[in-house]
Structure formats: structure tokens, C-alpha cells
């Protein structure tokens, strides 16, 4: 029983990571109807940038926030400079560009930082809170941080004019132009936000899985599974899906052993797609003939 509680809580912690990346995926999907395959690599690269700053002696929290800003600007620039020229190209061409980005970030990270695994510090104390045996301080702290970030993002979209404009631009770019929204910049902002969220996820997960260029491969897959499970066009659903996947992964790992963990993600993906493609909270699409 103890073990189960520990796995559930720890699953919620990693679930927070998956939820964040899933949210980033859904944000870009809503605006462009495309899944950004390069999301994980961008997050990984941002985490390396943080590592560089930490190594140069910058204290943790300033480095943390600076990384978020850098990731935001970076994501924005990527959209304006690299994605924009192919905005009106066929879908598959844009997918190839995403794959290109993925490969470039992965390779450049390996080149600059080498493929050896690096430890990444956690800002949270090493001793568990109140000496409990269920969850480490980092897992708790990471959960808290991801919840704060997700909360801020939701508040932004729900309550600010800019957030409303971004939602409108994602749903209906033509009508948004008709009210004066600069849709191109909304898209860029979306990318910036997605990159920033990914950076937070990276900095929270790196202490657990260690920093190396391929760290996000599995995480991206789990984030996909979470986004699909929750509903690829529902940001709230994607977040819940992410947490669910984290818990399921850990609980299944207890009973079936850890080599099959990746298979669990795959089964979730295939299961959702076959049984209920719109996910738990997504809208079921009725095609009007």
C-alpha cells in the first residue's frame, strides 16, 4: 500500500511534467492544427541554456526565470523566422520542417554539450518534507511549480484581452483579422508561451532523469498520450490527461515492471485512438456534409 501511494504521488509529479508539455502541444495544435514534434527538443535545449548559466555561477532562481524569458523569445523567433515562410505550405511540408527543427536542436545540443549525462540541480531541499516516505521534496516542489505555471497560463487565456485574442485567433483567424487582430503575432506569442512552458517542464524534470540531449524522447511520447487522452483540442483535458498518464505509468510499472513503461504509453495512445479519438474531454467532431 505504501508503495502504491508513493508511486501515485510520484506519478503526479511526473504527470505535472507531462501535463505541461501536453499543454504546450495543445496550444500549438489549436492554433495551427499541427502537432509540434520539436516541442521536446526545444524544451531540452532551454534546459541546457539554464545549465550553462548555473555553471557560470548564476544563482538558481534568477537562472530559472531568465531561461523562461529566453525560451519565450526563442519560441517566438522560431515561429516568425522559420515557421512563417511555410505557413501556407501543405501540411506535410510543415511536418517536415518540424522534423528538421527536432533534428537540428538535438544535434546541436549534442555537439555543444556532448552526449554525456549531466546532473541538474534541484532548488528544493534534499530531505523529504516532514520526513515522509511517500514523496521527495523535489517531487512536491515540482508539482507545485507546474501547477502554478498551468494556473497562470489558464488565467492568462481566460481573463486577459490578449489571451482572448489568442484564443480567437486560434479558432478563427479570418474573423480575428476582421476585428484587427494581428494573427501572425498571436501565433508567434503562442509559440513563445509553448517554449516557455516546455522550459519549465525541462528544468523540473532534469534533476530526476538527468540532462542529456535525448531526455525528452520518452517524455514527448507520454505528453502525446496525455494530450490525446484528455482531448487534443481541450487544454484543460490535456492537462488532466498528462497527470493521468503519469499516475498510470507509475502504477503499471509497479505491477508489470519498468521495461514495459513505454509500451504503456503506446497502449494508451492506440487505445484512445481506437475507442474514443476525441479523448475524455475533447469535442466530438461531427462532419457536416
Amino acid at each position: 500500500m505504501d508503495l502504491l501511494i508513493h508511486q501515485v504521488l510520484s506519478g503526479l509529479a511526473t504527470g505535472g511534467i507531462y501535463a505541461s508539455v501536453a499543454l504546450a502541444l495543445v496550444m500549438i495544435y489549436q492554433a495551427t492544427h499541427l502537432v509540434n514534434f520539436a516541442q521536446g527538443e526545444i524544451a531540452m535545449f532551454a534546459t541546457y541554456i539554464c545549465w550553462t548559466m548555473l555553471n557560470a555561477g548564476v544563482p538558481y532562481w534568477p537562472a530559472f526565470f531568465l531561461t523562461i524569458v529566453i525560451a519565450f523569445v526563442g519560441g517566438l523567433l522560431i515561429e516568425r523566422v522559420i515557421i512563417r515562410p511555410v505557413e501556407n505550405s501543405p501540411v506535410l511540408s510543415v511536418v517536415i520542417v518540424f522534423i528538421g527543427l527536432l533534428v537540428i536542436f538535438n544535434s546541436v545540443a549534442g555537439w555543444i554539450y556532448s552526449y554525456t549525462i549531466k546532473p541538474f540541480p534541484s532548488p528544493f531541499p534534499a530531505e523529504p518534507l516532514f520526513g515522509n516516505t511517500y514523496v521527495t521534496s523535489h517531487e512536491l516542489g515540482s508539482m507545485a511549480v507546474t501547477l502554478v505555471v498551468l494556473g497562470l497560463v489558464f488565467a492568462f487565456f481566460r481573463f486577459t484581452p490578449l489571451g482572448l485574442a489568442m484564443r480567437a485567433a486560434a479558432q478563427n483567424p479570418a474573423s480575428s483579422r476582421l476585428v484587427g487582430v494581428r494573427v501572425g503575432w498571436m501565433l508567434a506569442l503562442g509559440w513563445g508561451l509553448a517554449a516557455a512552458i516546455g522550459a519549465v517542464a525541462g528544468m523540473m524534470v532534469a534533476p530526476i532523469v538527468f540532462l542529456e540531449p535525448n531526455m525528452f524522447g520518452g517524455i514527448l511520447l507520454y505528453a502525446f498520450a496525455g494530450a490525446l487522452l484528455g482531448g487534443i483540442d481541450s487544454p484543460g483535458g490535456a492537462v488532466i490527461g498528462g497527470f493521468l498518464v503519469g499516475v498510470i505509468e507509475n502504477v503499471v510499472g509497479v505491477y508489470l515492471g519498468t521495461e514495459l513503461k513505454l509500451t504503456v504509453a503506446l497502449i494508451i495512445i492506440i487505445g484512445v485512438l481506437v475507442l474514443r479519438p476525441s479523448g475524455l474531454f475533447g469535442k466530438v467532431h461531427v462532419a457536416r456534409v
Binding site: P161, L164, A165, R167, A168, Q171, N172, A174, S175, S176, R177, L178, V179, G180, V181, R182, V183
Partner: protein, 238 residues
């Protein structure tokens, strides 16, 4: 006579390789209402789209003396041109309130914007009732009211209306057109109205142009065209 708010000279427009407008001229006077009539396929909707930079054009489009041809849609809108497109273009997944808020997106005067929400709800009480409902759940007539309100939230100098009567019950159409007239008279908003329902349009408008396969074939004051039985019979069908 004051200079026209909107002046169009030699406008050509095309979708891909297909040219739809072949050099048309028209204008909308300051505070006036101009209507463009014609059958399906004549190029009426294309004309409105051309005003907003939504199709490829050649020729001159001048708004209060400034050339706006070639400008991006959102830039034209920011110069005070509001377009109610055919199909209404409502944000289906946003609430009625959020739709109106989007209409006021480019405005800086917060208090006036609040007052304007009230104004819209006064024109269209149904919208007040359904404020927090998703726009996609509204009926056709209500969506049209919402589309018009959203456009008015911009406090535009020029209002472009694409077949506002389409698919609406006559009673609602009368109501909407009454509101157009009121807005034109109290706010001085100029309007460019595209309509298939010629009699309705000619009652509201000051000037009229008749398009046929991308060319202007008749133009003149709405009154003179209304009274010209021969034109009405052969071109407007009534």
C-alpha cells in the same frame, strides 16, 4: 459636397487565375449609404473582400484620401473599417460577450467601450439574454445580430455589410435594417451594403451600383433606380 469617404477606381480582383472584377469604380460618401446589387456570382462579395485586402487586387482603393489597397486585412480594420462577412464569421466557441469584446479589441477608450456594450444590448435585447452563451448555440438571426454588433463595437467609420438579410425571417430583417438607418443617422457611420434583396437595399441606401459579372452596368441615386421601372424589371426582378 464633402469628399467621399471611400473611393474606388479601376478595381480588378482575382481568385488565383480567375479574374472576378474587371475594373469597377464606385464610392461611398461621408455619412452615406451605398449599396451594390447584383445576382449571384456578379462579384458583390468579392468587392467587399477587396476592401479588406482579402483577395488579390489591382486598382485604387482610397479611404479618406489614404490608399488602402494592398494593405493587410487587420491594418485596414485598424483604420476604422468593420466588415460583417457573408456567413457572419462569429467566433463560435467564444461567448456572446467575448465576441463583443473581440469587436472592441483595437479600442483604447475603456469607458466608451462599456457604454457601447450597453448600446448593443439595447439594440438587440436577445443578445443580453444570451450574454454568456456560446455563440455557436445562437439561432441564425441572433448570430447575425451578434455579427453586426461586433462590427459596431469597432465604432467604424465605414461599415461593410455582406448580405445581412440572408436567411433571416422578414421581421428580423426589418429590425436590423431599421437599426442600420438609426446608426447611420445618429453616428454618421458610412455604409457599403451588398444585398441580393434589391428593394430592401434601395429603401435604405442613398447611392446604388449594379454589378453584372464583375462590371458596373448601372449606377445612380437609389431613388432614381427605385423609380425607374424599366431598370427594376429587367435587372432587379421586381
Amino acid at each position: 459636397m464633402s469628399a467621399p469617404l471611400l473611393q474606388v477606381r479601376g478595381l480588378h480582383a482575382q481568385y488565383g487565375p480567375t479574374r472576378v472584377l474587371h475594373g469597377i469604380d464606385f464610392e461611398v460618401k461621408q455619412g452615406g449609404i451605398t449599396t451594390i446589387l447584383g445576382a449571384n456570382g456578379a462579384g458583390k462579395t468579392t468587392t467587399l473582400r477587396a476592401m479588406c485586402g482579402m483577395v488579390r487586387t489591382e486598382g485604387q482603393i482610397m479611404l479618406a484620401g489614404e490608399r488602402i489597397d494592398g494593405k493587410a486585412t487587420e491594418e485596414v480594420v485598424r483604420r476604422g473599417v468593420a466588415h460583417v462577412p457573408d456567413g457572419r464569421g462569429t467566433f463560435m466557441h467564444l461567448t456572446v460577450e467575448e465576441n463583443l469584446r473581440m469587436g472592441a479589441y483595437t479600442r483604447k477608450d475603456k469607458e466608451q467601450v462599456q457604454a457601447d456594450y450597453e448600446r448593443m444590448y439595447t439594440y438587440f435585447p436577445r443578445l443580453r439574454e444570451r450574454r454568456r452563451q456560446q455563440a455557436g448555440t445562437l439561432s441564425g438571426g441572433e448570430q447575425q445580430m451578434l455579427a453586426v454588433s461586433r462590427a459596431l463595437m469597432l465604432r467604424p467609420r465605414l461599415l461593410l455589410l455582406d448580405e445581412p438579410s440572408f436567411g433571416l425571417a422578414p421581421r428580423i430583417v426589418q429590425e436590423i435594417f431599421r437599426i442600420f438607418r438609426e446608426i447611420n443617422q445618429t453616428e454618421g457611420t458610412s455604409m457599403l451594403l451588398v444585398e441580393q434583396n434589391a428593394s430592401l437595399a434601395l429603401q435604405l441606401a442613398d447611392e446604388a451600383y449594379l454589378l453584372e459579372t464583375g462590371r458596373v452596368v448601372i449606377s445612380g441615386s437609389a431613388e432614381s433606380i427605385r423609380n425607374d421601372e424599366a431598370v427594376r424589371r429587367s435587372y432587379l426582378g421586381y
